[in-house]
């Protein structure tokens, strides 16, 4: 480069025209050639912009948007998943609470029911017992009265046989009562 410029300068000094003109002649800078190259360059710029940079940058932008959307969706899904997990955990906890409450209620119900049944059974048993006692008392009273009556009759009969006297009703009654008082005593 330096050599070229030195050569150019040397030529310029020798021929003594303007430096710009010398450089122009030496390096072959010509208006029409320059214009043709400018047109070529603009052609390249146009082609690259239209057929390369344009579509590729649009595609890169589309892909960037797609990736951003995907990231956004992923975040949304993760959020939804977390919310869903939270909701599920809350529902499970609530179900557990309900289940425990129902079990407790069932236990309490069962306990009350069994208590009630036991009380009913006790009451029934007491009734049966009372009935049995009443029946036994009635039987005993009946037997006692029958026994008294039989005892009275036997006493009266024995007294009649022993004394050979026909006893009146009042005698029989008095003897019976005496005998009963002695027996009961």
């Amino acid at each position: 480069m330096i050599t070229l410029l030195a050569a150019t300068t040397a030529e310029a000094v020798t021929a003594n025209p303007g430096i710009a003109e010398t450089i122009q002649k030496t390096f072959g800078f010509h208006g029409p050639f320059f214009a043709a190259q400018v047109i070529n360059f603009f052609l390249v710029v146009f082609v690259l912009k239209k057929f390369a940079f344009g579509p590729i940058q649009v595609m890169l932008e589309q892909r960037r948007i797609r990736i951003a959307e995907g990231e956004e969706k992923l975040k949304r899904i993760e959020k939804q998943l977390a919310e869903s997990e939270e909701t599920t955990a809350a529902a499970i906890a609530k179900a557990n609470e309900d289940a425990i409450r129902l079990i407790n209620e069932a236990k309490e119900g069962a306990h009350a029911f069994s208590e009630q049944k036991a009380q009913e059974a006790i009451a029934q048993a007491q009734q049966i017992l009372a009935k049995a006692e009443a029946a036994a008392k009635a039987d005993r009273e009946r037997l006692s009265s029958e026994l008294k009556r039989e005892f009275g009759r036997l006493v009266a009969s024995t007294t009649a046989q022993v004394t050979g006297k026909v006893l009146t009703a009042d005698d029989q009654k008095r003897i019976n009562e005496d005998a009963l008082v002695k027996v009961e005593a």
Binding site: F27, G28, Q37, N40, F41, V44, V45, V47, F53
Partner: protein
């Protein structure tokens, strides 16, 4: 790893071999400094640029014909290249600016890259005809010439950038801020200090204007010089040894030229991006 190194090695070897054969006949054919007119306003480098445009069109069509959300093949490669360059420039220019100017910087990078590599294809710059001018000077006109080995091409890109550069700078920050960025005193000065600083910063502004005016010229000659110099180097090296061995000295330099082709495309693009960033930075401050 072996496959990675094998491909450039093989490429460089084949390029140097083919170039040696191409340049082998007819003695030393130095590539002239200027592009040669073939017909109308079209030169041998214009033809090469058309081929580069055709290649770029083919690549673009192949990459974007069936665009899919899940990329494959050419689309995948094209997306990787475009996205990498976009992110790289985005880191330099910022999100807002890169969105606005990527079409230009991307085009510049790919165009220079394709042209640089196409200039390394054997027969480009080495097959042509000998000429004798009116003064009896012997010359050589190649049929094809690397696009960036023509100053008209590099100047076309640089001056296009220069125009867009001013347009973007003014539309980003406004004409007043743009001029203030160049001429106004930087820092907070008051009273007599401000009065003293105004002429200094006006002078600095004039220097800045000269610097701005030189930058497109520097861009033009940097790219042209590197690419033309590379082609000259390869040709000169091939003439150092007997013709049947001509490929050998050029072989290592083909590796270098493959690297230079990429680096120069990157340098041109990066410098343009940095120039734009520097001139728009004041605009950002003004917005804040």
């Amino acid at each position: 790893m072996i496959r990675r190194t094998l491909l450039p090695t093989l490429t460089a070897w084949l390029l140097s071999l083919a170039s040696a054969f191409a340049a082998g006949d007819g003695g030393h054919h130095a590539l002239p400094l200027d592009a040669q007119q073939l017909f109308g306003p079209f030169t041998n480098s214009t033809i090469m640029v058309w081929l580069a445009v055709g290649l770029i069109i083919l690549f673009c069509r192949a990459a974007t014909r069936k665009m899919a959300l899940v990329p494959a093949g050419f689309q995948n490669f094209a997306e990787w290249v475009v996205e990498s360059l976009y992110d790289f420039l985005g880191g330099l220019l910022g999100e807002h600016l890169v969105k606005r100017v990527f079409w230009f910087f991307g085009s510049v990078f790919f165009f220079i890259l394709v042209n640089n590599y196409m200039g390394l294809i054997p027969f480009v710059g080495t097959i042509g005809w000998n000429t004798v001018d009116a003064h009896g000077h012997h010359g050589f006109t190649p049929w094809l010439r690397g696009g960036n080995a023509d100053i008209n091409m590099t100047a076309a890109m640089s001056l296009t950038f220069a125009i867009l550069w001013f347009y973007w700078a003014i539309t980003e920050s406004g004409l007043k801020a743009f001029l203030a960025h160049i001429f106004a005193p930087k820092g907070s000065f008051h009273g007599i200090m401000l009065l003293m600083m105004v002429p200094i910063f006006l002078f600095v502004g004039v220097l800045e204007v000269i610097s701005i005016a030189i930058r497109p010229v520097a861009l033009t000659f940097r790219l042209f010089g590197n690419i033309y110099g590379g082609e000259q180097t390869l040709e000169a090296l091939m003439n150092l040894v007997p013709k049947w061995l001509a490929f050998l000295p050029a072989l290592p330099f083909y590796f270098m030229e493959l690297l230079v082709g990429f680096v120069q495309a990157l340098v041109f693009t990066l410098l343009c991006a940095i120039f734009l960033k520097l001139i728009c930075d004041h605009g950002d401050e003004a917005h804040h």
